[in-house]
Symmetry: D2
Subunit: 141 residues, 4 copies
């Protein structure tokens, strides 16, 4: 199955539709198996003690799954998250970007489910696991 959006198209979509985070998140890989996105960690993502905030990781997972869905079905601007669960498992390493690897577990007509594993770049243990369900709006007739 050919992808509907390339890496370059995904990043252009981020620039255009999500200007608030476009400078912070970049898609690096997108193929039939997975989408990999990077969070370029900066001051805005940090919490006391130098750790990366939970909401910053949630935002990274959210955008990675959204883009993985769009890469399959094309730009459906109104797909919305209906459910998310996150396990925060390890403290991210200070001074390293986060790498999110997303797989779609289901891509149905109405619901899609994606899962993301987040790691600190170059470090083995999983920092956070997140799965989200997206509701896909019906196509206009």
């Amino acid at each position: 199955m050919a992808l509907a959006m390339s890496v370059a198209q995904s990043n252009a979509f981020l620039d255009r539709e999500f200007p608030q985070i476009a400078g912070q998140v970049r898609v690096e890989t997108s193929d039939e198996e997975r989408l990999i996105a990077r969070l370029i960690v900066g001051e805005a993502h940090l919490r006391p003690g130098g750790t990366i905030s939970g909401p910053a990781m949630f935002a990274l997972a959210d955008v990675a799954i959204y883009l993985a869905i769009l890469a399959r079905i094309g730009e459906v601007a109104l797909a919305v998250t209906t459910n998310a669960s996150v396990d925060f498992m390890r403290k991210p390493e200070a001074g390293r970007d986060l790498i999110a690897e997303c797989r779609l577990l289901k891509l149905g007509r109405v619901l899609a489910v994606g899962e993301v594993m987040i790691r600190s770049e170059g470090v083995e243990g999983i920092v956070a696991r997140c799965s989200m369900t997206y509701s896909i709006p019906p196509k206009a007739p």
Copy 2:
């Protein structure tokens, strides 16, 4: 049980420890039953179509639960979220702040669990429900 932090102390804590979001989130009520926090919705929270982003709601829930825990046990800067689940149920109303109402369901020695219901101010239906588990570090001896 007397609270360890008042509303004013909770907001002062936000100003000091979470400067990135202190101007956006304010605690309005904190008593033995619940903590209520407001997200002052601005451009940074919006998504295409004028809706409020999921990560903005996640961040609001996260800080509300964290502050509800601290209001009981005092400033334990290193309590960390280990798990979160969110149900996004309704589109928030455009142009209205979000009001998060948090209750602690469990406050154990090691783990605390809080739940947040998020509504658009002045609107009845629940926009999002979120529960989170926090791991509380052992007290220094």
Copy 3:
């Protein structure tokens, strides 16, 4: 809004459609606000140490939310759970039934979300919290 199924109808539905659990779960209250169901705790629900198993609590929550949805929309035999999250917070008291109190947080055309708080009968603290999303099939034309 009048309910589509009374307590007696809900229990008759359980007897007919869920014979495996009908003798273990009984609906006690069903009104516009909430549905309350009881798990009659028996040997089959216990784990080593005399505690009630997580799966038994999951099954109780599942049926309570399902019946709360049917009480509103009538018998839609094919509604299916798409997502569930559970927080297990306290050990249930030995020798006491479990009481599940369910509220519907959303009842949409396509998705419904319910939440259940489970307590040991006569005991205050919440044993488990569970939310589930059900997908509702389209009506036959």
Copy 4:
């Protein structure tokens, strides 16, 4: 790292400690990477329409993660589930056993997190994904 429990030991543990489900769940593989367990599907697991019930899948995931933890740390009878999230994604195939493949994402001193992918035997798509957190009691001194 050598495992503390072999496949045979895991099944013997099931027979001894979980007699209610021992005849229904069998461990088939257990190594450093993963534990695979089978649900021998029978009448007790079915729902109207011939599908396998959500609680039956939850129970399978629960025992697979529990045994994967014990395979690493030895018999710690009092480890308890504190949190679970499940995505139910496809209807299981009628007349086929379920195969649960569990990986531990974290094995800490206090908390362990495992994830399970459930498939119908011989069928490719994932039926359900489940992650659970277990709280590990401190060792007696």
